[in-house]
């Protein structure tokens, strides 16, 4: 936390930024997050909630836009830790990898403190770039299978 505002709700812009990095960490491949954090000097932490694996019921909507229904569950691992400097890091990540959840919570905690710039450059930026490269590669392959129709003559003419 950069200032003593722990008793106040964080401003909306901070929330949006935090949602972005938490989402990026949850979606990241565990090996990538581990590799990105290798060079970081990681602080000690205490558990507020030790890593725990469970299930989240995933919902869809009827017709894509209507009332919700339960599609099935996914595995999720969550944890909450506290740094000696007071920042509390949360993680809710897909899968059963407790080390991955711990790393995500550490990054979440560090991003709230004075080392945010360092962590952003070392961890978040490469993860975002890797996710974007994956997306672009898939989208490129999909684009190569796009079918274009040309109507030459219609029957009724």
């Amino acid at each position: 936390m950069t200032t003593a505002r722990s008793d106040l709700a964080p401003p909306a812009a901070d929330t949006a930024a935090r949602q972005r990095w938490m989402g990026l960490l949850a979606r990241a491949r565990p090996t990538r997050l581990a590799a990105a954090m290798q060079g970081l000097d990681l602080p000690a932490h205490d558990w507020a909630r030790a890593p725990e694996t469970g299930a989240v019921m995933v919902r869809g909507r009827m017709g894509g836009s209507g009332a919700p229904f339960n599609l099935g569950e996914m595995t999720v691992t969550r944890c909450t830790l506290r740094l000696a400097t007071g920042e509390v890091g949360h993680a809710w990540v897909q899968g059963r990898d407790k080390a991955h959840a711990t790393r995500a919570a550490l990054v979440d905690a560090l991003m709230q403190g004075p080392r945010a710039g360092e962590v952003r450059a070392a961890v978040l930026a490469p993860l975002a770039a890797a996710a974007e490269a994956d997306r672009a590669a898939r989208a490129g392959k999909a684009a190569a299978t796009r079918v274009e129709f040309f109507t030459l003559a219609r029957g009724e003419d």
């Binding site: 869809g60 909507r61 339960n70 599609l71 996914m74 909450t80 897909q94 997306r135 796009r146 129709f149």
Partner: protein, 374 residues
């Protein structure tokens, strides 16, 4: 009856040891890794995730390995595992309009906004065995094309029809749906419970039911308005944070069918809808689900029941779960000695009575005949 069994435990242990050996197969052939199953038998993994009702490709691959490739046994392992997990809550409904699509086709509109994208499909293959796969060569990477710099939302086809009022609207709602893994399914079931049940139902059963509607049992003439496969982010409200975050990304298959019309005195005729959504790439299941969803909607759409199996909610929902089905089916191979002993005694008693009655009858006839002779 009390039956003392000697050596049962030893026999079972030895049977399981032999099973493990058979699972491994010929040790001179390299052992299959879980990651190989996950990466190279992905459609088996997808089916186990859908019917096991748990999205976790590593676990599904492990279950397939443990089950020696028996997918229903693998689904059973996943269903058993999921009961050990604490439930953290439910996600926000996934936004399939924001899906990052790798496949998206429509059988109703050729020039739809967002385009037709074939993706990695078996369609248009010649279904000839490819013997080069036995030779084990490297596969060249698939060609790419310039992709959009950012993912653009791909609008649903039904949205275009909605705009003209030509198709029924899905009523917007945020009501929490019932969950058949928490409360036993009661009939009549809501559409939410029917969809949950179909999503985890056996692919073969749901396919057969869908096919029956195409062959004329409650025909509803479905067009695949749209079929899309791709990834969607899953968001969840995190109570300790007070806001929602993405907790992961799932591959999903969605099918929306456009079906024949329905009108009334107050509403002009419009197309009706069926919906299918499954975990991962699983399009046969998603299309089947949409057809059966539509067939089961006859009551809410004010149609007459044709008495077809696919319209019979009890028939469909009570028989679609392959774990329930296989559990009941396979239990009959287990010891039923006491049951059978009682049946055996009963049939012996009935036979003895029947034989005695015959003998008395024969005597009586004999006596009559004797009387007639006089």
């Amino acid at each position: 009856m009390y039956v003392a069994v000697k050596g049962g435990e030893r026999a079972i242990d030895n049977a399981h040891a032999w099973l493990a050996e058979e699972r491994r197969g010929d040790p001179s052939v390299p052992e299959l890794g879980v990651a190989q199953i996950r990466e190279q038998l992905a459609l088996s993994v997808n089916r186990v995730m859908a019917e096991g009702s748990l999205y976790d490709p590593d676990l599904a691959a492990l279950a397939i390995k443990q089950a020696r490739g028996d997918l229903i046994e693998a689904v059973f392992l996943i269903r058993a595992y999921r009961t050990t997990l604490p439930r953290f809550g439910a996600s926000r409904p996934v936004d399939t309009a924001a899906m990052d699509c790798l496949r998206r086709v429509s059988a109703t509109f050729k020039d739809l906004p967002g385009g037709q994208v074939l993706g990695p499909t078996f369609d248009y293959t010649h279904r000839l065995l490819d013997f080069t796969l036995m030779a084990g060569g490297e596969v060249p990477p698939a060609p790419g094309a310039p992709a959009a710099p950012a993912p653009a939302p791909v609008p649903h086809v039904t949205g275009f029809l909605n705009r003209d009022g030509l198709i029924e609207q899905e009523p917007a709602s945020d009501t929490a749906p019932g969950d058949l893994t928490r409360e036993p399914l009661e009939l009549p079931a809501s559409r939410a419970l029917r969809l949950q049940s179909l999503a985890r139902g056996d692919e073969g059963f749901v396919l057969g039911m869908a096919y029956s509607t195409q062959r004329g049992y409650a025909r509803n003439h479905a067009f695949v308005g749209e079929l899309r496969i791709g990834t969607c982010c899953v968001e969840m409200e995190i109570p300790e944070l007070g806001f929602a975050v993405q907790i992961g990304e799932l591959e999903l298959t969605e099918c929306e069918t456009v079906n024949q019309f329905k009108g009334s005195k107050t509403e002009p005729p419009q197309f009706t809808r069926g919906y299918g959504l499954t975990f991962a790439q699983n399009e046969r299941k998603a299309i089947s689900m949409a057809l059966v969803d539509r067939a089961l909607r006859w009551r809410e759409l004010g149609e007459d029941s044709a008495g077809a199996p696919a319209q019979d909610e009890e028939f469909v929902l009570m028989h679609s779960d392959n774990i329930q089905a296989t559990g009941f089916l396979e239990h009959i191979k287990l010891p039923h000695y006491v049951d059978f002993q009682s049946e055996l005694e009963l049939v012996r008693k009935i036979r003895a009575e029947a034989i005695r009655a015959e003998a008395i009858g024969a005597e009586a006839i004999g006596a009559d005949e004797e009387a007639a002779d006089v």
